[in-house]
Structure formats: structure tokens, C-alpha cells
């Protein structure tokens, strides 16, 4: 075993020496592999970079456990009596869901309406959002000053407001905000908190993709319904977000939510449940199509690289026949010769792989600078690039190696 390892090591030295002595040949052999590995590394770097960003964006906006429940637009001219009597999503639906649905962790009913916000020299009609205490946890979005809305605020329909960081800036500037009073739709609301700044950049040029979250004006949903709306009995909400306990139970949760809402709506199916997981899976599938496409392209370029290697090995084969004969006369076994040839082609492809990874990393850097999108170079990808090149080396080196190992020493020595 030790002798075998030693002889393989010697083959490596032999192989490197031989490469060194046939520089042009070796460079030609390298080109195909370098470009093949580089293109694989570059494309996967870009794809992975994009995918990781989408995942991060999803995480920052409620994660995959979130689903959206909203009114369905009823179509058709004829509506049944039950359909006519159903009011669509109400605050009560949210209360029932939170109480009854076992698969659901958080329910966040919201109402959005434009109201006049006034005070401290500021006056502007802004979108005001109704929220509950659940919002903070669902979006992992926390106050920087003061506090967020609490369950008590919600149950008391308290006249309190929490501002997004941009809104605080607009209204109060550098002055303290918490404890101040703002007029919303003509009533006095106490500012109890200011949210952290939320940021996410797909690329620098497009700006903060989550800036809309910094423009929130939150008041309790119940306050919106009971103190601002004319239709108090209706308790109509704009939509609600629901967070599932376990992402594996997504299908079950959708079923449960649909069943409960069908009951509260008198048997009418007038809500849509939009599942984020389904959207993710769709994206995953698209991603997989890209993966396969680029994998095939990469495989083709590696194949071409491999064929170039085999071609050059075979073309230079004849000039090495005498050498093989000599080595055999000096005591090299067929195995020694085969190892020598294989190691040589693996050394070539491995060097090609290393250069290819470097070049591919350079490509991705360049492209990422150009389109201003981060890229990912995972260790797994580098390893994959290198092992691909070794496999190509062994695969395409095999035939010439076996051919050399099988040479009859006498005929090989006579070869002119």
C-alpha cells in the first residue's frame, strides 16, 4: 500500500514534469477545462446569489409560513341570497380563526385607509394601517423607540399610534416623538412608538426594496373599525395575514382556514387564500429549470474540454510509445504506466479546475459589479468544480492510459 502511494506520488511528479516539458500542449489541454469550470462556477454563483436574495427578502417580510387571506372578487351576474348577505372578511373572522384554528400561530387582520394626519406643523393625508400586536412578531419588525401596539390597545380600541421611521422623520424631525399627540381624522392620538428602519437592497441602484415598511402609520385595527369607520357593525377588514405554526402543515392550515371561513360566511366561499409556500415552490421549480439548463451547458463545455484532452493525449501518444517501451524495459508494470498517464491527465484537469474556479470567481465578481447584484461563491460549488474536473480527467484519460499500459514492450521499443 505504501509502495503504491509512493508510486502514485512519483507519477504525479512525472506527470508535472512531463506537462512542464510540453508547455504548449498542456496549455491547449487546459483551455477547455478552464473555460468549462469557469462557466459552471460563474453561472451557479449568479443563480445562487439571486436565490439567496429572494430567500432573504421573503424572510424579512414574514417568511414562508405566512399566508394572505383576502376577499374574492365575486364574478357572474346571478348572486344567491347567501352570497349577497355575506360581508366578506370581517374582524370577527380573525377573532374566530385565532381562537379555533389549531394550525395557526398568528392572525393579523388589517384595515388600510387614507386619513388626514395633522400636528406639530405637519399636515398630510397618509395611508393609515390597522394592526394588532401580532404584526410585530409576524414580520419580526420591532420598535426603535417606545413600544408597539399591545393586546390591551387592541381590546380597548385605544387612540394610540406607532410611526414608521420615515414618518417620524417627516413629522417630528429631530424632536422627540414618543408621548406627543397627533391628530388623525380629527381625533387626538398619542404616539407610543417608532419602528426600526427596515432595509433590503436587491441592488444599490434600485434602492431600498422595503422602504414602504418605513412609511407605516399604525393604529390598532379595532380603533380603525370602531372610531374611524362609519360602518361599525360591519367590522369589514381589508385583508389578513395568517402565520402557520409549522410550514409542513401549510396544506392542512389552508384547509382549516377555508373550512372555518366558509362556516362564518354562511357557506359562501368568498375568500382567497394565497399561499407563500406555493409561490416559493413555483420559484424553486423555475430555479431548478435554470439549474438544469446551466448544468447541461456546463457539462457540455466540460465534455468538450475532456475531448480536447483525450485528443491531445492521443495525438501525442505516438511520440511517447518508445518512452513507454523504455519504461517497461526498466521494470515499469502496466499499472505504473496507466497510473502515470491517468495522473497526468488528472493533474492537467485539476490545474484547469483550479484556474477555472478562479476565472469563474472573477467573472461573477465582474458581472455582479456590472448589474449590482450580489453573487455567492459557495465552498460546495468550488468543490464541485474541482471534482468535475478530476472526473473529466479520469474519464478521458482512461482510454489513452489503458492503451499505453497494454503496449507490448518489444514493439514499443522498436517504434520509430
Amino acid at each position: 500500500m505504501k509502495r503504491l502511494l509512493a508510486s502514485i506520488w512519483e507519477s504525479v511528479i512525472d506527470g508535472v514534469m512531463d506537462m512542464n516539458s510540453h508547455r504548449t500542449r498542456s496549455v491547449l489541454q487546459l483551455v477547455g477545462i478552464v473555460l468549462g469550470v469557469a462557466s459552471v462556477v460563474a453561472t451557479f454563483g449568479l443563480i445562487d446569489g439571486g436565490r439567496q436574495q429572494v430567500m432573504a427578502f421573503f424572510d424579512k417580510t414574514g417568511g414562508v409560513r405566512k399566508m394572505l387571506v383576502r376577499d374574492k372578487e365575486l364574478r357572474g351576474v346571478v348572486q344567491t341570497a347567501a352570497e349577497k348577505s355575506s360581508k366578506g372578511l370581517t374582524y370577527d373572522d380573525a377573532v374566530v380563526l385565532a381562537r379555533e384554528a389549531k394550525t395557526i400561530e398568528l392572525v393579523e387582520p388589517t384595515v388600510q385607509r387614507n386619513e388626514l394626519v395633522k400636528g406639530h406643523g405637519y399636515e398630510k393625508t397618509l395611508e393609515v394601517s390597522g394592526a394588532t400586536a401580532a404584526y410585530e412578531h409576524m414580520y419580526d419588525f420591532h420598535p426603535a423607540e417606545g413600544r408597539f401596539l399591545t393586546a390591551e390597545d387592541v381590546s380597548a380600541s385605544a387612540k394610540v399610534v406607532v410611526l414608521g421611521s420615515n414618518r417620524r422623520e417627516e413629522i417630528f424631525g429631530a424632536r422627540p416623538a414618543v408621548g406627543q399627540v397627533l391628530s388623525i381624522a380629527g381625533r387626538a392620538y398619542t404616539v407610543v412608538g417608532v419602528m426600526q428602519k427596515k432595509e433590503f437592497f436587491f441592488n444599490e441602484a434600485d434602492g431600498n426594496a422595503l422602504d414602504w415598511m418605513n412609511k407605516f402609520v399604525f393604529v390598532p385595527t379595532t380603533t380603525m373599525l370602531n372610531r374611524m369607520s362609519g360602518d361599525r357593525a360591519g367590522q369589514k377588514i381589508s385583508y389578513m395575514n395568517v402565520q402557520v405554526r409549522d410550514v409542513k402543515d401549510m396544506d392542512k392550515a389552508m384547509e382549516e382556514v377555508a373550512t372555518i371561513l366558509r362556516r362564518t360566511h354562511g357557506g359562501v366561499e368568498d375568500v382567497d387564500i394565497v399561499n407563500r409556500k406555493a409561490r416559493m415552490e413555483q420559484m424553486e421549480q423555475q430555479g431548478r429549470i435554470y439549474d438544469v439548463t446551466f448544468m447541461v451547458c456546463g457539462a457540455i463545455s466540460l465534455l468538450v474540454g475532456g475531448i480536447v484532452i483525450m485528443n491531445i493525449l492521443l495525438a501525442s501518444f505516438n511520440e511517447r510509445v518508445r518512452e513507454v517501451g523504455t519504461r517497461k524495459a526498466l521494470g515499469a508494470t502496466g499499472l505504473n504506466i496507466m497510473a502515470q498517464f491517468l495522473v497526468e491527465s488528472v493533474v492537467v484537469t485539476l490545474i484547469g479546475g483550479v484556474l477555472g474556479v478562479a476565472l469563474g470567481a472573477g467573472f461573477t465578481r465582474g458581472i455582479s459589479a456590472l448589474i449590482q447584484q450580489p453573487v455567492v461563491l459557495s465552498p460546495g460549488m468550488i468543490l464541485a468544480g474541482l471534482s468535475f474536473s478530476v472526473v473529466v480527467g479520469i474519464f478521458f484519460g482512461f482510454y489513452p492510459a489503458v492503451k499505453a499500459a497494454r503496449l507490448n514492450p518489444i514493439q514499443a521499443l522498436r517504434y520509430e
Binding site: R3, A6, S7, E10, M17, D18, N20, S21, H22, R322, E323, G325, T326, R327, K328, A329, L330, G331, A332, T333, G334, L335, N336, P409, I410, L413
Partner: protein
């Protein structure tokens, strides 16, 4: 058709005539003893060239003692190259036995033969057959590499072998930077480096001018004086005359086997 097949065809056509000559004069200069390095008995070699079976060797009995310097001579197509290949364990006989240092090598696998070549035989070729891109040192190390020796010991022994042929100054040079005589000396160093039982030289002076050829021959004489066993295959009578023993092959048989006085 290959050269080998043509050689054999010539042999087949002339077969009857030769048979009688050999039986009439069975020349045997040196009797086989148990101390012999090489013992060939009734060795034949038949090449299968398509429809024609070509007999290159037709029953060779030959014993070469340790420390002998023998020349194998014969016209081209006589079978002397085939004999050399068998002596060098590059090929096995079709029938008959070959004992090398008492070990029967005639039925060995090609893997085993590689080991025997490595340990017991040092080859010197007409065309030197040095690896062109490797230094002399690396070239001389090659048999030790296949013997599985460590790097330090290889280098040491290779340097010693180069010194024996007077090339220690040139250890780092490549073959192309040397004269033909120097190249052949390097090849001799390579043949010696494994301390083989037998040095087998195939027309070692064939590619050299006569002055350089004599120089190479002098090295062989020195080696002989130190007790090495040397077999030189040649068609040059001047070389053969300098060897202590001359074995002449004609048409696949030993026609003459004499000691030079």
C-alpha cells in the same frame, strides 16, 4: 506484414538446410553448471502472424556463467533479437525453459516479468532511450523509482552510478545537451543503478562512431573486470572479438559458440 513475420518467413524457407548443419556440429564451448546465471533449455519462439506460424527460435540451449562477457552475433533475421528479448524477460518463450539465477521465468506473467526486469536486468539500447526532457539524474533514477525506493536513496545511488561512468558533472543536464557517447554512458549508468545480475546491451555502439564505440566498450570491459555479467547483442565482428565468448545465431539456432583466447 511486419519485419518480424518476414524474418520468420525466411527462416521457414531455409529450415531443412540449417537443421542438418547444426546437428552435424553441435558447438558447446561452455557447459551448463548450477552456478550459471542464465540457463536456456530447448527454448523455441513461434510468432503467430496470421496464417503463418513463424519460428524465430528453434531450440536454443545456452548457459552463461556469472561474470561472463558474451557477445551474441548473427545476421539480421537470425533470431538474435528474439533471443535477446527472451534473455531480457521482455517476452517469454513458446516452449522450453529459462532459468535466471535458478529461477524459472519462462512461465511468468507480464507483471512478474516487469519485476524481474527491474531487479535483475539492466538494459542498454542502441538508441540510448533516455527520457529527453528529464535530467540525467532523473533518467538514472527511473529503475529505482519502479523498484519503490525512496527519493533520497534513489538520488544517492543514481549519483554513484553516474560517477562510475564519469558523468557526475552532468547530472543536471538533459540528454540533448550531451554527445552520443555521453548519452550512452548515462544509459549504462541507468542499467547499472539497480545492481542487476545481467547487463543486456543491444547494439550499444551501433549509433556511435568507432572511436566513441571503443570508449563505450572500454566501460563494458571495466564492468566485466568488476564481475558484472554482460551480454552484448551485435552484428559487428570487431565488438564480438573483444568479448570473452561469442555465441553465433543463425536461423534460430546456435551455430557457433566459442571462447576468444
Amino acid at each position: 506484414m511486419t519485419d518480424r513475420a518476414l524474418d520468420g518467413l525466411a527462416l521457414t524457407l531455409g529450415a531443412v538446410d540449417v537443421n542438418e548443419t547444426v546437428q552435424a556440429a553441435p558447438a558447446r564451448a561452455v557447459a551448463a553448471t548450477s552456478g550459471d546465471l542464465i540457463q536456456l533449455s530447448a527454448v523455441t519462439k513461434t510468432y503467430d502472424a496470421g496464417e503463418l506460424a513463424v519460428q524465430a527460435l528453434r531450440g536454443i540451449d545456452l548457459a552463461i556463467g556469472k561474470g561472463q562477457m558474451a557477445a551474441i552475433v548473427g545476421p539480421s533475421g537470425s533470431g538474435k533479437s528474439t533471443l535477446m528479448h527472451i534473455l531480457g524477460c521482455l517476452d517469454g518463450p513458446t516452449s522450453g525453459s529459462y532459468l535466471l539465477e535458478g529461477q524459472d521465468v519462462s512461465a511468468m506473467s507480464s507483471f512478474q516479468l516487469a519485476g524481474v526486469r527491474n531487479r535483475k536486468i539492466g538494459f542498454v539500447f542502441q538508441t540510448f532511450n533516455l527520457l529527453p526532457k528529464a535530467s540525467l539524474l532523473r533518467n538514472v533514477e527511473l529503475p529505482l523509482l519502479y523498484a519503490g525506493l525512496g527519493g533520497a536513496e534513489r538520488r544517492e545511488r543514481a549519483k554513484a552510478a553516474l560517477e562510475r561512468v564519469g558523468l557526475s558533472e552532468r547530472a543536471k543536464h538533459r540528454p540533448a545537451e550531451l554527445s552520443g557517447g555521453q548519452r550512452q554512458r548515462a544509459a549504462i549508468a541507468r542499467a547499472l543503478v539497480n545492481a542487476p545480475s545481467l547487463i543486456l546491451a543491444d547494439e550499444p555502439t551501433g549509433n556511435l562512431d568507432s572511436k566513441t564505440g571503443l570508449e563505450i566498450l572500454r566501460i563494458f570491459h571495466e564492468m566485466h573486470a568488476r564481475g558484472e555479467t554482460i551480454v552484448i547483442v551485435t552484428h559487428d565482428p570487431k565488438i564480438a572479438d573483444q568479448c570473452e565468448r561469442v555465441v553465433q545465431i543463425v536461423d534460430g539456432r546456435i551455430e557457433d559458440d566459442r571462447l576468444n583466447s
